[in-house]
Symmetry: C2
Subunit: 449 residues, 2 copies
C-alpha cells in the first residue's frame, strides 16, 4: 500500500506547459485606460523581455533554462501522497491524493516561479526586485530566489500578515531581504491609502501598487509578481506535470483536481496540465477553491479591472470584486485578492473550470483533521483545498462512489500557528459575505475606452 510516490531528480520537467495553446479562445488582451490593447513593450518598465515574451506566448511548451532546473533540484520533484489515513478517518471510498509543495525551503509552491523570475531578471542585468506579499509565502520565496541569483529583494508585506506572522519577516531577512509593512509612507500609493484609511490592514492590491510604483521609478529595479500573470501560472505548471506523471505510475487519474485560488497560480499550477487532457476530451473536473469572504470567482463579475488597488497595472479581463474591495482579515492571507488570473477567469467563464467558496471555520476544521491524520500542519490557504476535497470525499461516502480526488497541498502552516491557536481558542470568525462592500467596490470599476 504505497503512500508516497516519488520521482527521481532527472524527472523534473524540462518544459513549462502553456495552457493558452489549448484554450478554445485566445486570451482577452490586457488594455490601457484608453481601451486599446497594451503592447508587450509597455511592460518592459518593470519586467525583463524574456518574461514579457512568456506572458504573451502561444507556444504549448516553453523550455526551462538549465540554471532554473538546477535551482529547482533543491526541492523538486515534490512527492505525491496517497492520503490513506485521511481516507480512513472519513470512511470514504474515494481515493485522495495530494501533491506536497510544502517541501520547498520557503514552505510553499511559490519558489517554483520565484527562481525563474530571479533568473530572467539577473540575465537582463537587473540588480534589484520589488514585490508584494500576503501571508509571506511569496515574499519568502522571492527572498530565497534573490539570494540564489544575486539580486537584492525589497518586500511590501500586507500589514495584517506582517503582524500575524512576524517570523515570515524573520525568514525573509535570513535570506537577506528588506521587508516593510504595507501600506507604507514610502510610496505615493501607500501614502494615499494611509490618508484615507489610517488604520488600513493592507491588502494584496495595495502592496502591489507600492511595489510596482517603486520598480517603475528605478532603472536597476524590476517588479516580480507571485501570482495572477500568465508567466507566473506558466512556471507553476511543473506541479501538475509531475502530479500527472506520478499518478500514472500508480495507474490512476483524477476525477477532480482541487487547489486554493487567490491570484490563481496555485490552481493553474496543478490544474492546467490536466486541462490539456480535458481539452483533448478527457473527463476531469478542475475546481478552484476560494474563501467565502473573498469570493472572486463565485460572486464577482467578469469584466476589465485593475490588478492593484491604485490602478497602476494594465486592465485585465477577469473575475473581480472591484480593485478597491478590502477583504476581511482572514488567516489565509494569500487568498485575500480582489481579482483573479485572467486565464483562470476566462476558463471559468467558459465553464471549463469550476469554483467553490468555503467559510473560514470549515477550512480550519479540515486542516486540523488533515494534521491529525496525515501529520503535516497545512497553511490556511491549503486548508481551503483540503476542505473542498473533504466535502467531496464525504459526498462519496454517501453515494458510494470511489472517485479519485487530487489536491494541491500548496504549503505548510509552520508560520501560521497563531491562527491555529485562535481556532482552538474559538476566536476565529466565519466572516459574512460582504454583499454591500462588494457592491460598493464594484461601483468603482474602471470605465474602459
Amino acid at each position: 500500500m504505497q503512500t508516497k510516490i516519488t520521482l527521481p531528480e532527472s524527472d523534473i520537467p524540462t518544459h513549462w506547459y502553456n495552457v493558452i495553446a489549448d484554450m478554445p479562445n485566445p486570451p482577452a488582451p490586457y488594455l490601457g485606460p484608453d481601451g486599446n490593447p497594451v503592447p508587450p513593450e509597455a511592460m518592459l518598465a518593470i519586467f525583463p523581455e524574456s518574461l514579457v515574451m512568456q506572458e504573451v506566448s502561444g507556444e504549448r511548451w516553453i523550455p526551462i533554462p538549465d540554471p532554473v532546473r538546477e535551482a529547482l533540484t533543491l526541492w523538486r520533484p515534490s512527492p505525491l501522497y496517497r492520503a490513506h489515513r485521511l481516507e480512513r478517518a472519513l470512511n470514504t471510498p474515494a481515493k485522495i491524493y495530494y501533491k506536497n509543495e510544502a517541501v520547498s525551503p520557503a514552505g510553499s509552491h511559490k519558489p517554483n516561479t520565484a527562481v525563474a523570475q530571479a533568473y530572467y531578471n539577473q540575465q537582463a542585468g537587473i540588480k534589484r526586485l520589488t514585490t508584494e506579499t500576503g501571508a509571506g509565502q511569496w515574499g519568502c520565496s522571492l527572498s530565497l530566489a534573490g539570494q540564489m541569483f544575486g539580486l537584492d529583494i525589497r518586500v511590501y508585506m500586507v500589514k495584517v500578515s506582517y503582524q500575524q506572522k512576524p517570523y515570515r519577516r524573520s525568514m525573509m531577512q535570513t535570506w537577506g531581504a528588506e521587508v516593510f509593512a504595507s501600506p507604507t509612507d514610502m510610496t505615493e500609493s501607500g501614502r494615499k491609502i494611509l490618508a484615507e484609511h489610517p488604520d488600513s490592514e493592507g491588502s494584496l492590491g495595495i502592496s502591489i501598487s507600492e511595489a510596482v510604483e517603486e520598480a517603475a521609478g528605478r532603472e536597476d529595479t524590476n517588479y516580480a509578481l507571485g501570482s495572477v500573470l500568465n508567466h507566473v501560472l506558466l512556471h507553476q505548471t511543473i506541479i501538475g506535470e509531475e502530479a500527472r506523471k506520478q499518478l500514472a505510475m500508480v495507474d490512476d487519474y483524477p476525477d477532480m483536481v482541487f487547489a486554493p485560488c487567490g491570484g490563481g497560480s496555485n490552481f493553474g499550477g496543478i490544474a492546467f496540465p490536466f486541462f490539456a487532457d480535458k481539452a483533448a476530451g478527457k473527463d476531469v473536473k478542475l475546481v478552484a477553491v476560494e474563501p467565502t469572504s473573498c469570493p472572486t470567482l463565485t460572486k464577482g463579475v467578469y469584466t476589465y479591472d485593475y490588478g492593484d488597488t491604485a490602478g497602476l497595472t494594465p486592465l485585465m479581463k477577469m473575475f473581480t470584486l472591484g480593485h478597491d474591495f478590502m477583504p476581511p482579515g482572514i488567516h489565509a492571507g494569500g487568498l485575500r485578492y480582489h481579482g483573479d488570473s485572467a486565464l483562470v477567469s476566462q476558463l471559468h467563464q467558459e465553464g471549463l473550470v469550476d469554483a467553490v467558496a468555503v467559510p473560514q471555520l470549515e477550512t480550519f476544521d479540515a486542516g486540523v483533521l488533515f494534521a491529525r491524520t496525515e501529520g503535516i500542519v497545512p497553511a490556511p490557504e491549503s486548508c481551503h483545498a483540503i476542505a473542498a476535497t473533504v466535502r467531496e470525499a464525504r459526498q462519496c461516502a454517501e453515494t458510494g462512489e470511489a472517485k479519485t480526488l487530487l489536491f494541491n497541498l500548496s504549503g505548510h502552516g509552520h508560520f501560521d500557528m497563531s491562527s491555529f491557536d485562535r481556532y482552538f481558542a474559538g476566536e476565529l470568525e466565519d466572516f459574512d459575505y460582504q454583499e454591500s462592500a462588494i457592491q460598493e467596490s464594484l461601483r468603482h470599476l474602471p470605465k474602459v475606452g
Copy 2:
C-alpha cells in the same frame, strides 16, 4: 550534477541496526544506587516490555514492525543532498552531503523513534505517555505519534524553550497534546526545583524528572524519552542506513560524519551504521558536535551519573557535567543536556567516536551561510553540525584535500526564527565555558555502591 539522492518508499529499512553487536566491549550496565546492575524488569514501571528488551538486546538487526514502517512512509526515506552551493560558497575541494531529516511533519529526526515508541506502548495496552521536551522537537514528534497510534500525550517543556518557541506548543496542541512549562508545581521534582530556584529556566534533566515521576505513579501511563537510551538510538539508525545506501548510489563514502550531540540520538542515528563499517576496518571518522556552553563529551567526566536532575533514573555510565548542572539558555535547546547516551559515551571513551565543541555564534554564522546557499533554514541544533562541517571544509580548502563530508541536517528552524532575529540584532552571546559551575555540579555526582 545530481543534488538530491532519493530512495523509493520500498527502501525504508526493514531492520534497525544495533551498534552493541559491533562494540569492542559490552555496554556498562545501568546501576541502582546500591551499585548493583538494574534488572530489566525494574524498567517495566515506565516502559513496555518490548522496549526494555530492545534496551538490553545484543542482536545486530532488530526487525521494524509493519505498522511502524507504514507510519514512517509519511516522510521516509528522507532525501540525501549534495551541497553543491555550499561547497561553491566555501570554495572547497571537499564534497559535502547532508541527510535532510527536516522533512518529517514535526520538522526533525525525532519522529523516527516517536512512532516506534507509540506503537509498542499502544500494543502493551498503555493509554497515555508523558515526556519532556527541550526545543520542542521531541514533544512535537511524540504528539504526532500519539495521534497516529491513539495515545494521549502530556509534555513537560523546558521553560526557556516554552517562552522562546510558543508555536512549538501550538503545534503539539494541534496534534492534540497537553503541554506545560517545566518546572511545574504538578510534581514533587518540579516543586523541589521551584523552591530552590524560583526563576529556574528549566533544563532537560528537570523535565525528565517530572515526566518520569508522573509515569511511575500511574498504571495506564508510561514514559517516553526522546534520546539517550539505547532503544532510542536504535530507532534512529534508519537515518544512517538510508544515508549509506544513498551515498553508494553515487559511488561515494564519507571520510567524516558529523551530527549535533545532546542526548546522542541524532548522532547515533546517522553515525552508528557507519560504525559497523569502522568496526570492520573501514577508515571513517564519526564526530559528535556539541555546544561549548554544555560540553559534555569534550569537558565532562566519564562516570556513573543520573540521567535526570532529581535522580529518579538508574545510574548510567556516561560523560556528564553532573546531573544538576544548569546549562546556559542557548538557543539550541535540544543540546542543553548534562549527560549523553551511554553507548556514545563508551565509544568516545574508547577513542572510536570523536567530539568537538562549537560556540553559539559560530553555529549561527554557519546556519545563515547554509540558509543562503542551500535554502533550508536550519534548527539551532543542526547549526552545530553545519558549523563543524564548514570548519572541516575550510580546512580542506587550505590543504587541498577532497574529503567527503556527511552531516545530519536534523531539523529545520521554522520555529526558531526568534533566535535568528536575535542573532541578526547582535544580541546572541557566546556563553563562556562555565568551569566553576561544572566543577560545582561534578561535586554532586552520586556515590555508587
